[in-house]
Structures are given as structure tokens and as C-alpha cells.
Amino acid sequence: MSLGAIVVGLYWGLVIAPPDAYQGEVQRIMYLHLPSILTAYLSYFLVFIGSCMYLWKREKRDDILAHSAAEIGVLFTALTIIEGSIWGRPTWGVWWTWDARLTLTAILLLIYTGYLMLRSLIEDENRAASAAAVLGIIGFLDIPLIHMSVYWWRTLHQPPSILQPNKAPWENIAWPLLIPLLINIVAFLLLLFYLLSLRYRLGEIRDEIRMRRLEQSA
């Protein structure tokens, strides 16, 4: 279903929708860029929820959720940065610039890559889970502070195109462009939940194998 929605969304966005009035064909990357970063943000929120739940209730499933969401979040953040730099080269003339929002995204990538490394470097499963949960919570709490500091530091990225404080969202983007964008956002969210369920199942299976091994050796 998710795959179908992406195909429809992409076809609409890349072929049917008219090119942007100022940026031309390059703008079409928005149909991937925005959905990817939204998916990544949602994943990090899920990491936070899973980590809180794990430290509170100590149930393995919450930890599997946090771990799965972190992996997917890192994947989509990396994709966003790659798409962004492909777009940035023809539009801004550079692959990378130290703008606030780019920096923030890169820092997110660093934090959650650290999270995954931390997990892989602790042998004891339960200890790895609680250590990672603490990092998941602190990392998420730190995001608003990092956000503020890098924004005060500098801003070059264009302000959000669609969500602006004094205008309704639908006034800022023409309908023919908005429809494929919305389809793609829905498609990416479906993809997130599909990947998450796969990765979650994998976590469960791994856990089960570990338990059986323990039983056998006992």
C-alpha cells in the first residue's frame, strides 16, 4: 500500500505537477525532501516515547520499539541530507552550507548515530537497553536547546514554505503542488510504519533466539 502511494505521489509530483515558478524542475525534490525529514522527526519522537516507557515499565517491547525507530530515523535523516544537498547544488550553488537548519539536521544524525553505536558496544542486553534509553531521552530533550542555539548562530535556509505563522497553509502553495506533496507525506508515513513493524518483528525474533539460547545453556 505504501509502495503504491509512493509511486502515485512521485508520478504526480515528478510528471503531472507543473514546475515551480522560480526554481523550475529542481524544486520537484521537495516531494521527497519534506516527507523524509517529517518521517525522521516522527521516528525520533518514537525513540523518546519508547525510551521513557522502557525506563518506567522495563518491558522489552518498548526497547525494541526505540531501537527500531532510531535505526529508521538515522536512515531518513541521512536521506534528507543527501536529497537536500542534491537540491542545494543547483539552487544555492553549494553542496553544503553551515545554515542553522542544515546544522541541526547534521547534529541529529550525529546524536542518533551515537545512540546506535552505544547500543552495539554494550554486551549485556539489558544494560545496553537502559543506557540507550537514557541517551534517547536526553538527546530528545536537548533538541530544543540545540535548535535555539544554532538558530541564533545563523540562518540562511529559506523560512518554512508552507507552515507560516500568519498565513493559512493552503495559501502558500498552489493546489497542483500540494496534492502530490500530501500524497507523498502519507506514503512516507505508511512506509515508516511498515519498516517499523518489520524491524520490530526482527527485534522480537532476536530476543526470542537469545532467550532460547539461555534456556539451552542453563
Binding site: I122, E123, L135, L141, D142, L145, I146, S149, W153
Partner: protein, 225 residues
Amino acid sequence: MNLLKQTSLVFWKDLLLELRRRDSLLTMFFFGTLLLFVFHFSFDLPPDKVAEMAPALLWLAFLFTGTLGLTQLFQVERENHCLEALLLSPLDRGALFLAKSCFNLFLMLLVELVVMPLFWILFNLHGWNLLPQLFLVTLLGTVGFCVLGTIMSAVTLRARARELLLPLVLFPLMIPVILATIRCMENIMSAGDLGAAASWLRLLLGFDVIFVTVGILIFDRVIEG
């Protein structure tokens, strides 16, 4: 026993150990000084440029020496299962967290008290009268560094290659502190007072308050694993 009493007891234990062994303080102090020499040789800046770069260079030195201290912070507890003994005693985990943060803060402040004037001497800087203000900002930044650093040091306690892992997870989280302290110090050095950097100072204070609170609340989960 209340929180403060317990905190001071654990702090006193660490201080006593450090006074007898002196390994953390001496290595940190020596490393900090060494970094100043390395910076001086590698940049070789004219005096007017040095004033611009001083805050960033100083904070790089503090970050590296601080990390050195943090990797050693729970070293005593790792040997001979002392951590288990500490956790068996009726000790509030929040107190353990506060004591460890304060101890690393104490070490870093001692190093900073020597390294900052030394920087002024080695790089021939003017404006000695600004040092107290600069030190105050550094103090706030160092508090943030030690608090979050102590949590992360405990988080990475049982990891393989933890000395390498600690900076990897800590530095991205420290970005608000690094930016805020450097901006505050730049403003003080160029304008003589905080001026436009007041909001940075509030950010720094907010960071300290948030992570002291989070640390006290969450530390039992961190250390018991």
C-alpha cells in the same frame, strides 16, 4: 541523611583519593597546558587575531581536558567492584550524581584557573581586567559540561571502548553549551560586557538547570542498568 550530606560525603571520598593519587588532576593540567602550546605553534597568529579566536581555542582546550577527566570519573569504582558496594549502601543515587558532577567540576575549575591566565601570558593578550567576567561565563559552561558529562560517563560505563565512545555521544549534545559560552566570551572581549549576548547566558543557565534536574531524576536508572 539528606541529599547534601550524602553528596558531600561521596565528594570528600573522591577528593581524598585524588589528593593521594593525583593522577586525574596532574594529567588534565598537563594536557591543558600542552594544548595551549600546540595551538600556539599551529596557528602562529598576529595579536589582533588572537583576541578573536581566544574563546574558541580556550573552549577547545577545556572540552578536551574535561573529557579526559570524565573518562577517569568512575575509574575508581570500576576497580574492585567498588561501584556495587556504593550501590548497596543506602545512598541516594541523586547524591552520587551530584557528587561526581561536583568532583569533575572541581578538577576542571582548578585547571581552568591556571590555563586561562597562562593563555593570556603565552598569547600576549591585553584586557586582564576582563578575566573575572570571562571566568564566570566559563564556570556556567563548565557546570553544564560536567553535569551532562557525568550522566554520559555513567551511561557508557559498561561499554567496550568507552573512552572512545564518550566524546562521540557527548559532544553533539554539548553544542548549545559550546556555542553559548563562546558567544558570551566573544562579546565580553569585544564590548567589555555581555551586551547582546544576554540571551545566550539565559540559554546556558537553562541548560544547566534542565540537566541538573534530569540527572537527579534519572541517575538511578543510569547507574543500575
